[in-house]
């Protein structure tokens, strides 16, 4: 069983944490504490909502009680406090974990169908529907 601790955490639904797979140490300071500057905190929140928890079944780190999610929140907050740009932090994480860790799809070629989809769907719908209408005078 590969990476059994990961699986143990995965096997329990969020935000449950089976006591065995957790460290005995307290969460990181900024895991559950806001930044003093409200504007920075909003930046951090917005970023956290779009970063994926590494050990959860499809949750952002902002919505998860998993320890690792807390550590990632602490990382984000510390860096924002130090003045780093949110997109740089995202890029740093993507450099290590791949696009999977970001919920915001990048503008790389592999995602253009996603962005084109709404436009194409509407266009297709209009094209299909145009035969329905009566010509006006």
């Amino acid at each position: 069983m590969r990476n059994a601790c990961l699986v143990l955490l995965l096997a329990a639904l969020l935000p449950l944490s089976p006591a065995l797979a957790d460290s005995k140490m307290a969460p990181a300071e900024y895991a559950y504490r806001q930044l003093p500057d409200a504007k920075q905190e909003k930046q951090a929140q917005d970023l956290m909502q779009t970063l994926r928890c590494l050990v959860c079944q499809g949750q952002s780190i902002a919505d998860s009680d998993a320890e690792m999610a807390g550590d990632m929140r602490a990382l984000v907050r510390r860096r924002i406090e130090a003045g780093e740009q949110p997109e740089d932090i995202r890029a740093w994480l993507i450099e290590r974990y791949g696009d999977w860790v970001s919920y915001k799809p990048t503008t790389a070629p592999v995602t253009w169908p996603l962005w084109a989809a709404p436009v194409l769907l509407l266009a297709a719908g209009i094209w299909v529907g145009r035969g329905r209408f009566r010509r006006r005078r």
Binding site: S17, A26, R33, Q34, S64, G98, W115, A117, R132, F133
Partner: protein, 647 residues
């Protein structure tokens, strides 16, 4: 004995489904009236048998019969009785039996109540319903038997996931399933009508109440699920674009489009092909959803245990049913005579726009949900698609849809013109502009989407009520009231979403006992913690005294619970609902030194409007349904009374 009886009832029901299908085919081929008449009782008995089977499964759970494997894996003697009862469907096999039960009961209900439909079409419909049933009976009996025994019986069960030990489990899944699986009736109607070449106004009028009924359940089920996630998960989120949530949203979108479309066929005899397509798509989305949730191909907090073999079985069923229906559609719908044409600026035009926009949103949600899978299959790369994409892609279309929803009921059938529409929309437009001004003054930093949401909701809300102006309210038909309330509910819900997104205030802090925190306009004093115990859990309960300005303070008690089987921790948020929003509090862990506790505090203005709006939409649908049924009863069964009269 009980388990064996349950299993036997299920086998019998499957046999009856086979009989129903064969009878239907032979009766239609040979034009045998007597065999046609036999279908109704067969369908009703089939429904009764499955209901019995399900009832017996519930009994096994209530008694915590540990000789049954499913009970062992999902229940526990110490569990409160409500969760023993609801736990029947808190697992794959039990919920699958619920699914099949709703399928059979829907078919039985059609057999019992449907009087408007032509006999041949009804036979074809019941046969189609039986055909769907057969596949799922096979799945249940061969791959997911809920009644399997285990020997020797263990001393204790594994318990139910604590997140599911909530009244929400008693309400949300059954309601949702009556919705999704209830759409099978629309599917079967569509297939039946295609087979007997009977796609016309009478067929649409017959189908409409069934679609409305399923849609009301689905609306209420999704609303309930959203509220349950909101208070259960402890972070104040109410929609996560999780694949399973999307799987329930897609049938809803299709069903909403179908609902509007079927009215056009019923009254104006237009959009026939679209309506049949939507009826097929709606239940297809339900089946696709069932597949996605149970196959393990997508990761989700809602997934049942991963099992690709079961997934393959369901996929095979999907291929047969959806593939078959779509092929039938392509072959037969070309021969359906289209009704009369209409102008773009007309109520039909608005309804076509409505269909188009809803289908676009449906397509976006489907593509977004499947995209990571597609990318992984083709390039091997892993990527995630979540809220940022879905919100950005669907919000503009949703706003357009709201505009169409506001203007639609104010348009005349067949032909209308821009100028008179503009006159009718003057008041809503004025309200929209006023709202724009008001919001920009009161909340200058507001984001663009919450802003648009609020102002559109204001304008469209007024437009929704417009059909009632200058009418004698006591003589307005019930289905018009239903439409107004449902449309108004959409605006109400959007206001809630916009406010929650723009105005939520959050405070996260490690608080010492005696300290006071601020969140929004509230002061929260942390008074202390104490240990407390429940039927199958122990908890630390915090005491918070909350007040706003000089008002009377009240006490809130969030808990951090520990369950023993399975061993897990959950947060039970303490929520106080006020007239203008909710205060949401969560108690977290103790800090290292033992002298401080994590507190998560939110002030969410107007957030309850989200679910109040959802309930209004459901209520509107229910009123429309009752109105249609009452109207149908007052006029002759050939349905001429209801034709042509709408709003």
């Amino acid at each position: 004995m009980i388990a064996e009886a349950g299993l036997a009832a299920l086998w019998l029901a499957a046999a009856l489904a086979l009989l129903q299908l064969l009878l239907g085919i032979v009766a239609l081929r040979g034009e045998r009236e007597d065999w046609m008449r036999a279908l109704r009782p067969v369908a009703m008995v089939q429904a009764a048998l499955v209901a019995l089977s399900f009832g017996l499964l519930i009994l096994l759970f209530l008694r915590t019969d540990l000789t049954v494997l499913l009970v062992v894996e999902n229940s526990h003697v110490a569990k409160p009785w409500l969760y023993k009862f609801a736990g029947t469907w808190g697992n794959h096999e039990g919920s699958m039996l619920l699914w099949v039960m709703v399928l059979a009961v829907s078919g039985g209900a059609v057999a019992l109540f449907e009087r408007q439909l032509a006999e041949r079409t009804l036979v074809a419909t019941l046969a189609a319903q039986a055909a769907i049933g057969l596949g799922f009976y096979a799945f249940l009996l061969f791959a997911s038997n809920p009644f399997a025994r285990v020997s020797p019986a263990p001393a204790e069960g594994n318990g139910l996931n604590p997140l599911l030990q909530d009244p929400g489990l008693a309400f949300h899944p059954p309601t949702l399933y009556f919705g999704y699986v209830g759409l099978s009736v629309a599917f079967s109607f569509a297939v039946g009508a295609l087979v007997t070449r009977d796609v016309g106004p009478a067929f649409a009028r017959a189908m409409r109440p069934w679609v409305l009924g399923a849609w009301v359940f689905l609306t209420l089920g999704i609303t309930a699920g959203s509220y349950w996630a909101y208070y259960e998960l402890g972070w104040g989120g109410w929609w996560f674009w999780d694949p399973v949530e999307n799987a329930s949203l897609m049938p809803w979108l299709a069903a909403t489009a179908l609902l509007h479309s079927v009215t056009v066929v019923a009254t104006r005899d237009g959009l026939r092909a679209w309506t049949v397509m939507l009826a097929v798509v709606a239940f297809s989305m339900s089946m696709v959803g069932t597949f996605l949730v149970r196959s393990g191909i997508l990761t989700s907090v809602h997934s049942f245990a991963v099992d690709p073999t079961r997934g393959s079985f369901i996929l095979a069923l999907l291929a047969i049913y959806i593939g078959g229906a779509l092929a039938l559609f392509a072959l037969r719908v070309g021969t359906v005579r289209e009704g009369s044409r209409f102008d773009i600026v007309s109520r039909e035009g608005a309804l076509v726009l409505n269909n188009l926009l809803l289908s676009a949103i449906l397509g976006i949600v489907l593509i977004g949900t499947l995209y990571p899978l597609a990318v992984e299959a083709t390039t091997g790369e892993a990527l995630s698609v979540g809220a940022p994409y879905f919100n950005a892609a669907t919000s503009p279309i949703a706003l357009l849809l709201m505009a169409a929803m506001g203007a639609g009921p104010l348009l005349r059938w067949r032909r209308d013109d821009w100028r008179s529409l503009a006159r009718r929309m003057a008041a809503p437009a004025a309200v929209l502009v006023l709202a724009l001004g008001a919001v920009l003054v009161a909340a200058p930093g507001i984001g663009i989407f919450p802003l648009l949401g609020l102002v559109f909701a204001a304008g469209v809300g007024v437009a929704s009520v417009a059909p009632l102006w200058k009418r004698n309210l006591r003589r307005t038909p019930l289905f018009t009231w239903g439409m107004v309330i449902a449309h108004l509910g959409v605006s109400v819900s959007v206001v809630g979403m916009a406010c929650e997104s723009a105005f939520t205030r959050e405070t996260l802090v490690a608080a010492a006992i005696g300290e006071t925190q601020t969140v929004g306009p509230f002061k929260v004093r942390f008074d202390g913690v104490m240990p407390i115990a429940g039927p199958n859990w122990t908890a630390i309960e915090g005491t918070l005294t909350v007040s706003r300005g000089d008002g009377t303070p009240w006490v809130m008690r969030p808990q951090a619970r520990m369950f023993s089987s399975p061993p897990t921790e959950t947060n039970e948020a303490a929520i106080k609902t006020l007239f203008d929003g909710q205060v949401y509090t969560v108690l977290g862990r103790q800090t290292e030194g033992g002298d401080r506790w994590q507190l998560r505090l939110w002030w969410k203005p107007m957030v309850t409007l989200i679910w109040l709006g959802g309930a209004m939409i459901g209520l509107g649908g229910l009123l429309a349904l009752i109105g249609r049924l009452a109207r149908g009863r007052r006029h002759s069964p050939s349905g001429d009374g209801a034709a042509g009269v709408l709003a």
